[in-house]
């Protein structure tokens, strides 16, 4: 999977821009606020139809413009790939893959896969369980797009059950109980499917996480990852039955996959509360890289790896080990500072005053070799 060329129209700060990317490492350099993240955000948008920075789609359209257009040419499984996306200022988007209109955005999953590491990812380690659940579930979908359904089913059933619990207002008459029985059965099935998938994923991630951490950490350490779920072993149906009185009283489903966590630790230290900020950063990076390796193995080809501002997060020793440990495939990294001496990008893109200039030290650009 590869993006060779990218065209932007009215996307973020770019009125119009064209960019060539290397099959291996491309470095995007420029001062703060010049538009480096905007560039990689466009690539990620083609894969997810959203902003990895959590910005609403509106924010992606250049101020004053009606719609943004992002177009990319590349390769997937040895075939040419063309993705074109239009995003109206009102927020609706339209995508064509190889000139075919997609019926549902779900169909986009897998057309282009990306792994993104960005400064905000520190929250994976420092933040609440919701961040880590999203990490797991996004990875589930990346590994197998069918899990998009596992996830949305669970969401929907849970919302239905909670709506019913709220409506009964603390008292469950036999009619409401019969309806609740049905939602419990549906929830038990949907929950177990998601819970089992998460557990299996964490088991597959564990060994990868250890080596990914060692690759960037200053010293090797035992890194642990555990899927913490208080209902999965007992069986969700039974747990729901036992917890029914409490759920009815609170008008809410108190136990389930929506409360799972992923516990991370370095040696004996819980990573969220006990380890240094530098170690937390390395661990967040390791989580992304472990996911990247897993998806590469499951899908058979590496996603496009986007590293936004990694070096501001790591000291020079860690930066060098990161560059040495870069996986095969395409990588695009951005930096506001100097590239570490160990960096050997095939292309360097300089962003200044809204203009992009590319220099390729000795490597012929794609397509003209």
């Amino acid at each position: 999977m590869r993006v060779d060329r990218l065209w932007l129209t009215d996307f973020r700060s770019y009125a119009s821009a064209e960019l060539q990317l290397a099959p291996g490492l491309t470095a995007v350099v420029g001062a703060n606020g010049e538009g480096k993240t905007n560039l990689v955000e466009a690539i990620v948008f083609l894969a997810t139809l959203g902003s990895f920075r959590g910005a609403p789609n509106d924010a992606l359209v250049r101020l004053g413009a009606h719609q943004a257009v992002v177009r990319a040419e590349g390769e997937r499984d040895g075939r040419a790939l063309l993705i074109e996306a239009e995003l109206a200022a009102g927020g609706r988007s339209r995508v064509l893959v190889n000139r075919q209109r997609l019926a549902r955005t779900r169909d986009l999953l897998g057309a282009l896969r990306v792994t993104v590491f960005a400064p905000d990812d520190l929250e994976l380690v420092k933040g609440g369980p919701a961040e880590r659940r999203r990490y797991l579930d996004d990875l589930l979908v990346a590994v197998d797009p069918r899990h998009d359904r596992t996830r949305s089913d669970l969401d929907r059933v849970l919302r239905q059950r909670n709506a019913l619990l709220k409506q009964v207002g603390g008292r469950l008459d036999p009619d409401a109980a019969a309806t609740l029985d049905v939602w419990d059965t549906r929830l038990a099935t949907a929950g177990a499917a998601l819970g089992r998938a998460r557990r299996e994923l964490v088991a597959n991630l564990a060994p990868l996480l250890g080596s990914a951490y060692d690759a960037v950490a200053s010293e090797a350490a035992e890194v642990h990852i555990v899927h913490a779920s208080e209902w999965l072993d007992q069986g969700y149906a039974e747990v729901l039955a036992e917890g029914r009185a409490a759920d009815v009283r609170r008008g809410l489903t108190l136990i389930g996959p929506h409360r799972d966590d992923v516990e991370l630790s370095i040696g004996p230290m819980p990573a969220r509360t006990h380890v240094s900020q530098g170690e937390q950063r390395s661990l967040a990076f390791a989580l992304r890289m472990a996911g990247h390796t897993l998806v590469t193995a499951e899908v058979g080809s590496p996603p496009v790896l986007v590293l936004d501002d990694v070096f501001s997060e790591l000291d020079s020793g860690r930066s060098d080990s990161l560059l040495e440990a870069l996986p095969i495939g395409q990588t695009i990294l951005t930096t506001a500072g100097r590239l570490p001496p160990g960096a050997r990008p095939q292309l360097t893109v300089r962003v200044a005053g809204g203009d992009l200039t590319t220099d390729s030290p000795g490597v012929p650009p794609v397509g003209t070799a």
Binding site: R149, D153, R156, V157, R159, Q160, R161, A163, L164, Q167, D175, A176, A178, T179, D181, V182, W183, T185, R186
Partner: protein, 201 residues
């Protein structure tokens, strides 16, 4: 944002209330209606009024009907002991297209969905139970949509009906999961009807 004069804006607003019609389409349809010959517009208006006056719900199955019973309930060639339970009248059209089914129907007029405030009481569930004995129903086919709410509704009805000693079946998968019956092609839906399986609640 009413940029149009009273009557035009009223028309746009009314059209915009229709299912699947957004503000842009409402505007387009309104301008279309204003452009076409008056007789054509009046014919449409009359069709709506007459349908509203003449069409009611079938007393027995809650399908659309002109008169007390719908076309299917008043057709005595239909097998009276088998009921196919659907969410909406339009689903009957989908099942009829398959030409696989010779029994009668029961239209729930929705599916269980607490989010929308719809429980069994808001659906024609009691009315379904009331039909079983008098009509000598021996088999009920649960033909609700293969999405979250449709599956939950089928499960609810299955649990309600199974103890009554009926054969309760659910249409087989093969239908796109999460989809709507009305969009299923007749071959797929026909196979799903044929391959219906006994309902395990």
């Amino acid at each position: 944002m009413s940029v149009y004069t009273g009557a035009v804006q009223d028309l746009i607003d009314e059209l915009g209330r229709l299912p699947g019609v957004g503000p842009k389409s409402a505007q387009r349809i309104a301008f279309h209606l204003l452009k076409i010959p008056t007789v054509d517009a009046v014919r449409l208006a009359r069709a709506i009024t007459e349908a509203k006056e003449r069409v009611t719900f079938c007393e027995r199955c809650f399908n659309l009907a002109e008169g007390t019973l719908c076309g299917i309930c008043s057709d005595d060639r239909r097998e009276p002991h088998v009921l196919c339970v659907v969410e909406e009248s339009r689903d009957i059209v989908a099942v009829e297209r398959t030409r696989e089914y010779r029994g009668r129907y029961h239209v729930l007029q929705g599916a269980i969905s607490p989010i929308e405030g719809i429980g069994p009481d808001q659906l024609k569930v009691k009315e379904l139970l009331a039909r079983i004995d008098p009509e000598g129903v021996t088999e009920v086919i649960l033909c609700t949509n293969p999405n979250i709410e449709g599956e939950a509704t089928a499960m609810y009805l299955g649990r309600l009906l199974s103890p009554l000693g009926l054969t309760v079946t659910r249409i087989a998968s093969g239908l796109p999961v999460g989809g709507d019956l009305e969009y299923a092609d007749e071959l797929t839906l026909g196979r799903a009807l044929e391959g219906r399986r006994s309902f395990d609640s």
